[in-house]
């Protein structure tokens, strides 16, 4: 188990180093920098002012030097200053993390708590009307883009209740605070729940045909015991994998959801920072997200080992 852990940890560090290189150089490949954008917004280009500004921001330096300044700062916890707001990058990023974390957490919770039970029911009731209905729901979830679903929810809320469930920084009640996150989390989590449900269903169907399930039934185990104790425990591995991957994909979904529900989280902030080519914000934020995603995958790898002892013995 220890060797497995060390190997995964090493792989994680190598991955993060690779990501840092990709982030840094991809950003520089994108045409234009903050200075171009500032002058584009002003509708003119003054070469002298442009050169001064590039020097002031340090983007006239060789790329290797720029990379070294950034990555060494990142490791020290010095994230530099936002080119746009001229405030410390960390000060800009930190308050937004809990907002997105809450949203992502709720979306994942929604996904797992809806997707897994419905997937089990769908598999157990295979071929029934209920199964067909649940499959239609899951297919809809996969087909509906979350921005469209989000706008539909907003439009319906305004038309039916005269209220709009967009982000409220100062909710008056606990319920209002919950609604601020729950509605967008449901919008973004619906697709994820649909995927989880389909994976759970197919995985369960495969497991339910296994000999040991028949043996369990022959021994007189109850349906619940067979389905949830024997079958689900063995069918859950691919589901965990998908949820781990979904956690990473969720960031992409959140960009749109945060925009539609006007939530000041990191995902929308990241898009804005890319638009402005605000390198200190983009690099550090993407790197932080990468750390979270790689760590999540690391945890998933560890969970594999917990759920399936064969992995820790053979890998």
């Amino acid at each position: 188990m220890f060797a497995y852990l060390v190997r995964r940890l090493f792989l994680m560090l190598v991955t993060l180093f690779g990501i840092s290189i990709v982030i840094f150089f991809l950003l520089r490949i994108v045409p234009g920098n903050i200075v171009d954008i500032l002058f584009a917004a002003a509708g003119y280009v003054d070469p002298a002012d442009k050169a001064n500004l590039e020097k002031e921001l340090g983007i006239d330096q060789p790329l290797i030097l720029q990379y070294w300044h950034w990555i060494s700062g990142f490791l020290r916890g010095d994230f530099g200053y936002s080119y746009v707001s001229e405030k410390p990058a960390l000060q800009e990023i930190l308050p937004r993390i809990p907002i997105t974390a809450r949203l992502a957490g709720l979306a994942l919770l929604f996904s797992a708590s809806i997707g897994i039970p419905l997937g089990v029911i769908s598999a157990v009731k295979q071929g029934t009307r209920l199964d067909y209905a649940l499959r239609v729901v899951s297919l809809s979830g996969l087909s509906l883009p979350s921005f469209w679903l989000g706008l539909l929810i907003l439009t319906a809320a305004v038309a039916m209740f005269g209220q709009i469930p967009i982000f409220n920084p100062n909710p008056a009640t606990w319920l209002e605070a919950f609604a601020t996150y729950a509605v967008p989390a449901a919008a973004v989590g619906f697709r994820s729940a649909a995927l989880t449900m389909r994976i759970t269903r197919s995985s369960m169907l495969e497991v339910l045909r296994q000999d040991y399930i028949r043996t369990a039934r022959a021994k007189g185990a109850s349906d619940a015991a067979v389905n949830y104790h024997h079958a689900l425990k063995n069918a859950i591995l691919p589901v965990i994998t998908v949820i781990g991957i979904e956690a990473a994909f969720l960031i992409g979904g959140l960009i749109v959801t945060e925009t539609v529900f006007n939530i000041p989280g990191v995902a929308r902030f990241l898009v804005e920072a890319i638009r402005w080519r605000d390198y200190p914000i983009v690099q550090n934020l993407v790197m932080l997200i990468a750390v979270v995603v790689v760590s999540a995958n690391f945890i998933v790898d560890m969970l594999y080992a917990v759920f399936d002892p064969r992995i820790r013995y053979t890998d």
């Binding site: 002003a42 509708g43 003119y44 746009v84 709009i164």
Partner: protein, 532 residues
């Protein structure tokens, strides 16, 4: 007896009705005006910006020397009002403009306002001070100002190289606030200090901008509002739905397109909505330095092929204006009258005849039904650029020009235009003041940074100076019309249309006036109030 009671009741009701009417018109103190903002401005320094995304939230933090009357929609020389200046006077040779400054005005940090602050502001703008603006997009406005000289603490003179009556128009723009000497340009970008009706509280990028009432404002009793809060919502659908749901008191000014305005009126029938010109023209930039558009015949043919009314009908349901460089009347002060405009080739009502003439010019240049001219039409990747570009491509087909849309990301647009790396471009030009000096020198004078096409006609340049020095407004108008006509005939930068846009507010918001010939000058909001 019954009639006495009835009379008394009637009298009481009349009195009540009268008093209600009286109080309904009285401004009420208090309340926060909640508005959504379309975009997160880069910073808070108006002097460094070139977008009204900055002017709208931050104009209320400052004062100018003079300002356009905030309750007259049309900005004109007659609507100039004193602000930090109590009065102004021109010298007999019109080369010296002297302002008497208001005394007892305090900056938001408590320091006293003096003529030194005015000098600092204009030295910054003219690039004469030690401290530098990170960007200075309107430096050219002050090309004719020799120096700005204080005469004591409360008087200041602008010494000009030659008469320039337009200087006052530029000083009245929302783009010309007075900055404090004791705050650096860098600090003004993050925490602006002004003398205006509202104090800056905070600016959270992509989130919100908050202003609070300045209790020491030099106009006693103003502002009426306790503050203004802007929530940044870049998604237009969300923003409009939030306005309809009553989450906001007002939409972002001139942010509503004509088709969307109908949606708002149907969902929020009580909202007050107005549509006004934005003084932003949609135009074609032509690279006349290389083939094929170095050929004046092809440029003229292209201009003749334009069906401007079709653009206006498709994009604005008929609610936009056709004109030359200057915004057309009645909202525009300097635009050509319709009869003069229609004498310009391509502006006549008979589009088919214009296109027949255009085809002849194309054939003269060697193109025809069997040999089309392939052209890339570059434009910025924004809907207000892309949509007219698509219509332009369709219209040019009628004269043997096959256009291909070349969509360019915003960051690369101006560098590309500056490199002359385009054949035809569809561009938008905003005018912050409805004034010929601002428009002509900025967009058409030889060597100007914003003269993207490098159009340079020394004869016209001389006329720019003649109109600029003309004191008599009527004489100046004639000169401006002649110049504008010549610019269109030269196909310097063919103007397609002047856009209009809508603004809506809830019925209880009072004291809002949307300017009809500029989108940059009407956001002081010192006497806006909420009737609730």
């Amino acid at each position: 007896m019954r009639s006495v009671w009835a009379l008394a009741a009637t009298a009481a009701l009349s009195l009540l009705a009268f008093s209600t009417t009286t109080f309904a018109g009285e401004p009420k103190q208090g309340g926060i005006l909640r508005m959504y903002h379309r975009d997160s401005p880069g910073n808070a320094s108006i002097l460094e910006g070139a977008t009204y995304s900055l002017n709208v939230p931050f104009m209320g933090v400052f004062n100018n020397l003079v300002i356009y009357d905030q309750h007259i929609a049309q900005n004109s020389p007659d609507t100039l009002r004193p602000e930090l200046a109590e009065s102004w006077s021109w010298s007999s040779d019109n080369k010296k403009l002297t302002f008497k400054l208001r005394q007892g005005v305090k900056w938001h940090d408590g320091k006293a306002f003096t003529s030194a602050d005015v000098k600092c502001t204009f030295d910054l703008l003219m690039g004469k001070s030690q401290q530098k603006l990170r960007q200075n997009p309107r430096k050219a406005w002050y090309n004719e100002v020799d120096d700005v000289a204080p005469n004591g603490d409360f008087e200041i003179s602008f010494n000009l190289k030659r008469p320039q009556p337009s200087l006052l128009a530029m000083l009245a723009s929302g783009y010309t606030p007075i900055y404090p000497c004791h705050v650096s340009p860098a600090d003004m970008r993050t925490h602006p200090i002004g003398t205006g009706p509202y104090k800056f509280v905070e600016f959270k990028a992509n989130e919100s901008i908050k202003l609070t009432r300045n209790p020491d404002y030099w106009k006693k009793g103003l502002p009426y509002l306790d503050g203004i809060e802007y929530t940044i919502i870049p998604n237009r659908s969300t923003a409009i739905l939030a306005f309809v749901a009553g989450k906001f008191d007002m939409t972002f000014p001139t942010h509503i397109t004509i088709p969307l305005l109908k949606d708002i009126k149907s969902q929020a029938p009580n909202a007050t909505c107005v549509v006004e010109p934005t003084n932003v023209s949609t135009n074609i930039i032509v690279n006349s330095t290389s083939a094929p558009f170095d050929n004046i015949d092809i440029r003229r043919a292209m201009s003749l092929a334009l069906d401007r009314k079709a653009f206006v009908d498709i994009l604005f349901e008929g609610q936009a204006d056709i004109g030359g460089t200057m915004l057309p009347p009645p909202q525009g002060i300097w635009g050509m009258p319709k009869d003069k405009l229609e004498t310009i080739p391509g502006y006549g009502p008979n589009v088919n005849a214009n296109r027949e003439e255009a085809k002849k010019l194309m054939q003269k240049a060697g193109y025809g039904p069997d040999k089309h001219l392939a052209v890339k039409i570059s434009t910025r990747n924004l809907a207000e650029y892309r949509d007219p570009a698509v219509i332009l491509i369709d219209q040019l087909k009628s004269i043997y020009i096959d256009g291909e849309l070349d969509v360019v990301e915003t960051a690369n647009w101006f560098p590309k235009v500056a490199r002359k790396d385009y054949m035809l471009g569809l561009n938008l030009t905003g005018n912050s003041v409805d004034d010929p000096d601002q428009s002509f020198y900025e967009n058409y004078s030889c060597g100007s940074e914003r003269n993207y096409t490098n159009y340079c006609n020394k004869e016209i340049e001389k006329l720019f100076d003649v109109q600029s020095q003309e004191i008599d407004t009527n004489k100046r108008k004639q000169l401006v019309w002649d110049i504008d006509k010549k610019l269109q005939e030269d196909v310097a930068r063919p103007i397609i249309f002047h856009a209009r846009a809508g603004t809506c507010w809830q019925p209880y918001v009072k004291g809002i006036t949307i300017m009809s010939n500029s989108s940059y000058n009407g956001f002081r909001y010192e006497d806006v109030w909420l009737d609730k």
